[in-house]
Structures are given as structure tokens and as C-alpha cells.
């Protein structure tokens, strides 16, 4: 081995690491900034000082309620659901080697949506019941899709297609349930289906936080196995990756994240889908995308919610904003992916 080659290899690695850390740092700063802004801005403006005192637990007239009870839970929920959607989405995309194979497209979000609509309209459940129902349904459907695509092992393409079929079925079940709804329920269900942070409470945020604390580390620990799957099943296995185990752990953890986040806010369109590809463009190819995607996810949700609340005359739910903003990027991505022949 020549020393020049060794130096070049080391230099390249250090350079890529530096870029990755810089991007992660920049994104984190952006998230913190917009998080702070969304605590300050609203019908009444509160200064950073007032916000800070509320965060420290002091009683500030007006601000304690508005910031502490209204804006803070909302911003926290936006932050953590964004993290969940980001990690969950990129896990699916990496595992299935296709940026289009995100949970919003292959039926996981549809399952949570159909279940929630059913729970709200037919069973008349309260918030906790709706969440529980959505989570169980999302996990159940994920397992079903996995089992249905099992035939000499699970092939990614088959899983994606079967997911699309299941999603179509669930979506029409949802529209049937909505059709049965009374006027008030219809509003609740539609709002839920579009993904919304209106009326966020701490009660909604806690389960998501717990899910993030449980499933997030599981995925991060096996991030390397997940990136190995990008090389194709055969190569990954030849390099010592246990395919089925990696896939199973990834699916369960990612579905857990997506389901808990979805049950709190409804499916916020395209965040799971877009976070990965955006992160990939920013940090460059090579390393694991889990952490960058998580941060991009929460940036997207915070930003979209801010726009939805303040940019238009009508207050749009966050999911509609991400949907409309995401659509052109999605189409661009579709074109680019197909042209390049797939992979993130």
C-alpha cells in the first residue's frame, strides 16, 4: 500500500465527516431558531426574555398561559413528530432502497388514518382511544404487508407494491367512514386526516416522546446495518448483515415511530417522504441518514406549521402545507429517481 493512497483515503474521510457535522450543526441551529420564533410569535408577541422566563418556570402574566400551555406543547409536538416522521421515513426508504417507498405511500399512514377515522366516527372514542387504535392498526397493517410479501424472503419491490394495494383499500374504507359521519365528526376526522397541530396538549406529546426514546435509539444503534442494505441483499449478507433481523427490527421501530407520531397529529403529508431525500442532498452520499433526516423532519414540521398559521387568511393545518409544498418536490424527486434508476 502506498502512503499517498492512505493519506488520500484518510483525508477524504475526514472531509466527509466534517461536512456531515457542519450540516447537522446548521440544521440544529435552524430548528432551535424556528422553535424559539414559534414560541414568541402569535396573536400577541412575547419577547425572548418573557419566553425564557416561562421556560424556567416563572409566572409571567399572560405569557405563562399562552406560551406555556398553548405554544410550547404545540412547538414541542411539532419538533418530536418531525423527528419521528424523519427517522421512520428514511428507515423505510433505505431499507427498501427506494425513496418513494416511504410509509405515506405504502399504506402505513393510510392504516393509521383509516383506523382513526373509524375510531372517531364509528366508535366515538376519545383522544387516547383514537391514538391507541391508530397505533395498533398501523403495526397490524405493517405486519400484514410484511407477511403478504413473504415468498422466498421479502423482496423490497413486492413489499412496496403490496403496500400500495393495501393503501388503496384503506383509503376507500376511510372515505366510506367519512361518508357516514355527522357534520361535527366529519370536521374532526378530516382535520385529523390532514395532519394538524391545532389544540396540541402535553397529553398528546408524552406518548410520542416515550416512543421516540424507545425506538429512536434502537434504529440509531443499527444504523450501519441499515446502510448495508443499500448494497442489495446479497452483498449486504456477504458482508455479515443479518437481513431478516435487520429488516424486522427496522420495520417495527420505524412503524412504532410513525404510528405514535401519526396518532398525535394525524399523518402530516410527505414529511416522512421528503426528510430523507433532502437530508441525503445536504450531507452527501455515504453515511447513515437517520440523524440528518430526523432533524430535517422536525425543521419541515415546525416551518410548515408556522406558515400554515400565519401566512394566509385561512389557517391551514400543517399537513396541508407540507402536502402542497411537498408535491412539487415529490414530483421532481420522482423524475430524478427514475432517471437515475432508483436508490436514495
Amino acid at each position: 500500500m502506498s502512503t499517498t493512497t492512505l493519506e488520500a483515503v484518510t483525508r477524504g474521510r475526514v472531509r466527509r465527516g466534517r461536512r456531515r457535522r457542519a450540516v447537522l450543526g446548521g440544521l440544529t441551529v435552524a430548528v432551535v431558531a424556528i422553535f424559539a420564533v414559534s414560541l414568541m410569535v402569535g396573536q400577541t408577541f412575547y419577547t425572548p426574555d418573557e419566553v425564557f422566563r416561562v421556560l424556567l418556570g416563572e409566572t409571567v402574566p399572560g405569557a405563562s398561559f399562552t406560551v406555556g400551555e398553548l405554544r410550547l406543547p404545540r412547538a414541542v409536538l411539532a419538533l418530536i413528530t418531525g423527528l419521528c416522521f424523519g427517522i421512520g421515513g428514511v428507515t423505510f426508504q433505505t431499507m427498501l432502497r427506494n425513496p418513494l417507498a416511504s410509509p405515506d405511500i405504502i399504506g402505513i399512514s393510510s392504516a393509521a388514518g383509516a383506523a382513526a377515522a373509524f375510531a372517531i366516527i364509528v366508535l366515538n372514542l376519545g383522544e387516547a382511544g383514537v391514538s391507541a387504535f391508530a397505533i395498533v392498526a398501523a403495526l397490524g397493517v405493517a405486519v400484514l404487508i410484511y407477511l403478504l410479501s413473504f415468498k422466498d424472503g421479502v423482496a423490497g419491490t413486492r413489499l412496496v407494491l403490496i403496500g400500495i394495494g393495501i393503501a388503496a383499500m384503506l383509503n376507500s374504507a376511510t372515505s366510506y367512514v367519512l361518508d357516514q359521519a355527522g357534520q361535527w365528526d366529519l370536521q374532526a376526522a378530516t382535520r385529523w386526516l390532514n395532519g394538524s397541530l391545532n389544540g396540541s396538549t402535553w397529553d398528546e406529546a408524552v406518548p410520542v416522546l416515550v416512543a421516540l426514546a424507545v425506538f429512536g435509539p434502537i434504529l440509531l444503534v443499527q444504523a450501519r446495518n441499515l446502510t448495508m442494505l443499500q448494497l442489495g441483499d446479497d452483498t449486504a449478507a456477504a458482508l455479515g448483515t443479518r437481513l431478516e433481523r435487520t429488516r424486522l427490527i427496522s420495520i417495527v421501530a420505524a412503524v412504532g415511530l410513525i404510528a405514535f407520531a401519526t396518532s398525535a397529529t394525524g399523518p402530516i403529508a410527505f414529511v416522512a417522504f421528503l426528510a430523507g431525500p433532502i437530508a441525503a442532498r445536504m450531507v452527501g452520499p455515504g453515511g447513515s441518514l437517520l440523524l440528518p433526516s430526523a432533524v430535517v423532519g422536525s425543521l419541515l414540521v415546525l416551518l410548515a406549521d408556522f406558515i400554515g398559521q400565519f401566512a394566509f387568511d385561512t389557517r391551514f393545518p400543517v399537513g396541508v402545507v407540507t402536502g402542497v409544498l411537498g408535491a412539487p418536490y415529490l414530483i421532481f424527486l420522482l423524475v430524478r429517481t427514475n432517471r437515475a434508476g432508483g436508490s436514495l
Binding site: T10, R97, V221, L231, G232, A237, G240
Partner: protein, 273 residues
Amino acid sequence: MTTEHTLEVETLTVGYADRVVIDSLDLLLPPGRITAIVGANACGKSTLLRSMSRLLAPRGGHVLLDGREVHRMPAKELARTLGLLPQSPIAPEGITVADLVGRGRNPHQRILSRWNADDDKAVAAALDATHTASLADRSVDELSGGQRQRVWIAMALAQQTDVLLLDEPTTFLDVSHQIEVLDLLTDLNRNRGTTIVMVLHDLNLAARYADHLIALADGGLHAAGDPAEVLTEDCVRAVFGLDSTVIIDPVSGKPLMLPIGRHHVREPGPTVG
């Protein structure tokens, strides 16, 4: 620098959902040598290679590496001794050559361990050995077919295994790149003693480059041994159902098979023997 490992196949039976592809096959792969596996389409060459590297679970029989059953070994431990380059590996979009080669270090890394200087050394050595050091920062997507194949071999080298299995490493390459890849593998075998087992389509290249030739027919072993003894007209007829004449290759001194079709055969008929 390498230790010799024995790779054995005992009464191996492998199949997919509805059909048996390999039926109770016994093989011994000579350590420290180059073995080529040849046979007609769909005779089970790739299946054999895949089950030797435990990508496919056997229905019966065993694959033994140094007497241990590969399907029972921990995945990473096996991957430190035995590497496989599949027929059409997938490169993540935009990945650089150095990063891709670095993926070969996976079996040497613990779950949370950081990349270390040994990893850098292994990658650099693999790049040098395959003459791809100048490509290190290029994106794999931009490379030509021959360059890409060398990069994949570099990835397998970075894995630092003593046994390397390759599934048709020369497909989709033009003839000069085929020779380049096979020369590279020969260097590897001669310089480091790496045991190489490869599936090859081209009988004549297999006979030229292999120390040991295995001919499969219908999921079973037809013949195995020195190419000069295995590659005969009878063998070609039995394995491929093709008439041929086998002469001595004036370049290598190894056997050279010339196919006999229905046309373009000089009268009087070919001499046999």
C-alpha cells in the same frame, strides 16, 4: 500472509419454492487455489455459490468452512473469512469509490465502534491492489463498467477475507476488461494466497485462469479437477449438449474449446481426440 481455509460441500441439496436446483452435491474446494465453476444456464452455478456463502439455506447437507457449518456461524465471523461478490451488486446513488470500498469493512466493525486507522489502511490497500486509488473521490455512478467491477473487487478486498467467491465477475465487460479482472484475481491469489472460487461463463477463460475446474450439469457434479483433464469434448457434450473440438491453447498451454455448430465446419469433419 493468509491462513489456509478448507471449504467443503457435503451432500448439499438446495432449491427454491417449487424445485430442487442442486441435488446432494459433494465438493472440495482446494485451499489457496483458483477454482472456476462452469455449466449451462440454470444448472445451479449461482445457486451453489449463494449457498456456499449462506445466502441460501440448504434443504439438506452442509457447507463446511474449516469443518464448521457456515449456516451456523455468526454472520460477521463468517464474513471475516469468506467474502462474496454477487453478480449484480447495487451501488447507492452518488456514493464515492472510497466510501463504497469502506463498506467492505463492515464485518470488522462493532455495532457502535468508530472508523479507525486499520480501516483506512485496508481501504487504501484495496484501492492500490485494484489500481483504483486515483478514482477514490469519484462517484461510482460515473465509472465505466470495467472500473466499476474493479471497485467492487476492491470492496471485497477491503473485507480482508482469505476466501473470495465471485459470481460471474466478467459479465457485461468487454474482452480487455475481462482479462484485466481475471489478471487482478490471479495477482491476488499469487501474492496473498487468497482462495478464489468464481462462476464463469466463458469456458476458455475458465480453463485458462483456473487451477481447478468444476463442471456442473443438472444440479450435480459432472467433473472436477485440473482443467486439462476436465475440459474435454465429452465433457462439453455432456454439460452443454454441444459438439466441439478441444485443442491446446497456443498462448497458455491450457485446453481451448472450439464449438462445432451446424454451419461453418470445414470438410472433412473435425478430427476427434
